[in-house]
Amino acid sequence: MLTLHNIHIKIADKHIINDISLTLNNGEIGCLLGPSGCGKTTLLRAIAGFMKTSHGEIIIRDDIVSSPATHVDVTRRQVGVVFQDFALFPHLTVSQNITFGLHQFSPGKQQQRLEELLNLTQLSDYAQQYPHQLSGGQQQRVAIARALAPKPDILLLDEPFSALDPSLRESLALDIKALLKHENVTALLVTHDQTEAFTIADKIAVMNQGHIEQYACAYDLYHEPDTFFVANFVGEGRFIEGRVSMTPNASAQLHTAMGDFAAHEEPVLSPSEKQVKLLVRPDDFVVDEQHGFAVNVVSRAFRGAHTLYTFESVKSHEELLCLLPSHYDYQVGTQVGIRLELEHVIYF
């Protein structure tokens, strides 16, 4: 179990991490997702013990490992780390790399654990190879096996897929997830790639400028983002202009160029209005040539079962992304009628 309490980190008087709290239960896979420079790697390094926190506490299992008063050294934290470049020791074979952290174990135990991990990561045939003789995916598995070998309380993964071929990332991510679940290890992953995060993580903390915008599961982040940043960062989608009108004793209404929707607002005492932006996801549309709103096809990208269209609304000139089954075949420049079907009305 990993708990972060109000973590602040300063580097050279610059606040890199601002008041972050987060809990990860045993066996859960968490993810820090955010654009580069948001502080996610710094936070990971602080958890690993590579840097000190200036305020707050990091608790692994039941021990405070970082606080302003204490700092358990990285070598004694029992935290496994998988690095972006894997950091495999080039002069050691796969086996030697994996057993590197097992120096406290007896040779017999080392061998037993090694075989266990080689089987688990399907690397048995490569045990005597050197890292440079392996493919990227194999190298990653060695890195994970090495980090898992001493049975750490928590496994930290820093952008583990960024060095790999994008087309392989998703399948590799699933393999890794299965591996982590099999070992029942609590893991925290850092990435800027949401597909990775969605594939592998149970819970995702979206980070922005040193703080957490939202900490939730993938579904909630996508469909019920808490902040404009999350809505914008997670998933594809566009915002359209809207106006919320609130009247006492009546439900609030959201008016947009593409129709009116029920708005969820606290009851008000006197009528009021506000300008908002409504989140529209590409899968929020249906084709409706008769009653729909007219849009022009700006561009299209064929994706097999679906085609992703970029539309421009004829009336408000707003850009929309729309994912339609690929049997709808509209050419660029033609006019189409579409209708919004919102399951979650998200506006900010």
Partner: protein, 532 residues
Amino acid sequence: MAVIINKWRELDRWFVVGAGLSVILALPVLAILFSYSHLSAELWRHLYDTTLSEYLTNSVLLTLGVGLGSMFLGVALAWCVTQYTFWGRGFFEWALLLPLAMPAYIIAYTYTGMFDQFGWFDSRTLLGAIVLMSLVLYPYVYILAKTAFSSQQHTYQDAAASLGVTHARYFFKVALPIARPAVFTGMALAMMEALADYGTVAYFGISTFTTGIFRTWFGMGEMQLASQLAGALAVFVLLVLGLEKYSRRNMRFYQTQIPHQDMRVNTYTNTQSKPFLSPLLMSVFCLVVLAVAFIIPVFQLCIWAWEFAEVSVIDEYLSLVSNSFLLAFSTSVLIVALALLLSYAQRFSTHSQVSGLTQFAALGYAIPGTVLAIGVLQPLGWLDEQINVLWAFVFDEYIGLVFSGTFVALMFAYCVRFLSVALHNTQNGLERIKPNVDDAVLTLGLGRLRIFSRIHLPLLKKSILAAGILVFVDVLKELPATLILRPFNFNTLAVKAFEYATDERLLAAALPSVTIVLVGIIPVILLTRAMK
């Protein structure tokens, strides 16, 4: 088809360049090995019966001792300055290179003179030779190990630390093994220099292979046998080098990423509450080594020089300095260029033989300078003769010696002798650049020249500079080959220093000696400036 032909041509060219240069540079060594064509069983029998075992024992002990001594000093110092912050670190980082400028025979003469003066103890023992030589040869290891340690990926440290490995264990299990090619290269240079040393062992009266070579040559007048001994020495070195290479045949030491300039703080020394060595101890350690290897002898030399200095010879003296400097400078440029060419030939050529040929061409470092000089004279003398025959045929007159006794011969000898020093550096630098970097740039349509200037040169800058400096200092110190091959009326500082020293006039030798050291400091300082 055209593509294939083009490709073939290009590869072939590199082979031609690499093999051609290697063969030319290997000529002196070949000339020495050629001496085996006349083997005298009787002479070998005599050697075997009397002195050979002593030569072997002493040479092996000396070489191993200097290897281990310079490894210990070089690695320990490099580790300290790259990993820790302590008082004077910035200064020590470059100052620790200074002993390089001190020729082994000069430190030997200086300390012996001092100890005699104070009557403490006799430094003229095998152990004394090992210690003194290690003190001036460790910078070979230090400079290479320092580059290796500071360019190691920081994530290795992070990874090791997260696996519960302490800094000390990290050093032995990761940092040192990964730096192994560099450390071994440095050791090999130090060991070859120790093996080829004559001045120190002769003065100390230690019978080594080298003194044996000179005994058989000078004493018995048996140059053939001397050459055979030198050839055996070269073969021995070749074997050791080959063995080391073979032992790491499957490992790769590529840098997967170029280390950040704004290097992250050291994982271990940043977070660990106290390092396993106290900072004060490190300052003291660095200071002691520097003092013993450099400050004390230089100070002593300065005192002697001051006592003996004659103002009247200052003009002649200045020309000595400029001679030495210009020769060392131009030679080091030439040698580094050669080393680069050969390293690239090795990298680009598909013929694996190039590597072996180059290795062979670089053997000159292990051969005592005097023997090598004779090895240089033989092919050049032959060439001169052919040229004269040809010239006489065409113009009906002789043009005399074109190569022998000119700067051509001298610089050729330096190239053969010090190529190894430069080559180890350039190869080491290139080895750390993954070949797929080349491929990536080639596919972008950039030529090889562009790869070099845009990609490699910035990455190789340190290696090239290090190679240049090491060669510069080596040429500055070089004595036996210079003595024999130099043109008429041409003197260097080393020649002057040695003439006095062998004449047992230590005081007179002090001034040129200390000047060698001071001239040698200049590039060392430039190097450290450039490396920052």
